[in-house]
């Protein structure tokens, strides 16, 4: 089973469907909680965003996500947890983050999904360069991470 975190370019709906379909054979699962992050065409001071180009400190991110998964598997009665993040260019409307958590019951899947999402945004060394149609680009900033220093 491929356990990679990063996917080059946008995450396709075909890939997401394949993951859902694969988990229908696990009949001890009663609940899937899925989060999809999609690139918005926000209007900024510098123009409208046409896409985000993602880079990462890959080896550190892989160590981080391994630790996060261990923590969550210990904390919640969940059966499966997958997370995929785009690298490179993702145009507006494209999916850049795919989180998939499965459990016997909805509560655990829901809580673990939410905690995973928060930790991905806060702890993974990934950067988004927002490409705007006028000046070219600006760097994305997650509000919660603005005052980490």
């Amino acid at each position: 089973m491929r356990r990679s975190l990063f996917i080059q370019g946008p995450i396709s709906v075909a890939f997401i469907s394949a993951q859902i379909r694969k988990h229908q054979f696990k009949t001890n699962i009663g609940a899937h909680q899925i989060f999809l992050g999609q690139v918005r065409a926000d209007q900024t001071d510098h123009g409208k965003i046409s896409g985000i180009e993602y880079t990462a400190y890959e080896s550190m991110a892989l160590e981080c996500i391994k630790k996060i998964k261990e923590d969550l598997f210990e904390k919640y009665p969940i059966r499966c947890m997958h997370v995929y993040h785009s690298l490179g260019m993702v145009k507006t409307g494209g999916c850049s983050l795919f989180i998939f958590v499965s459990a016997a019951h909805s509560e655990a899947a829901y809580l673990a999904c939410q905690e995973l999402l928060a930790r991905v945004k806060k702890e993974l060394p990934i950067w988004g360069k927002e490409i705007v149609d006028k000046v070219g680009y600006q760097w994305k900033l997650n509000p919660a991470n603005a005052n980490v220093l």
Binding site: G37, Y57, L124, P125, W139, N142, V148, L149
Partner: protein, 79 residues
Amino acid sequence: MNAEAEVLFFGNLTEVTGESSIRLWDVEDTDSVEQIVLNRYPELRKQMYLIALDRQLIHTNRLLKNNHTIAFMPPFSGG
């Protein structure tokens, strides 16, 4: 015997440094690495950054032993 360090820059910091990695020899601790880097790229002082030693965030000075990787990283913005 002092240590060697590979220093990595990420995100918008690479626009300040103009390169994504440099190599330093004969460094003692992470504070001295930070000083060398800030002297070489004074514009970095205006940037927000986090430091990771061997892929772990650090918030205080650490002694260096032999071969290390030290990353300068702007606030994360994945998702």
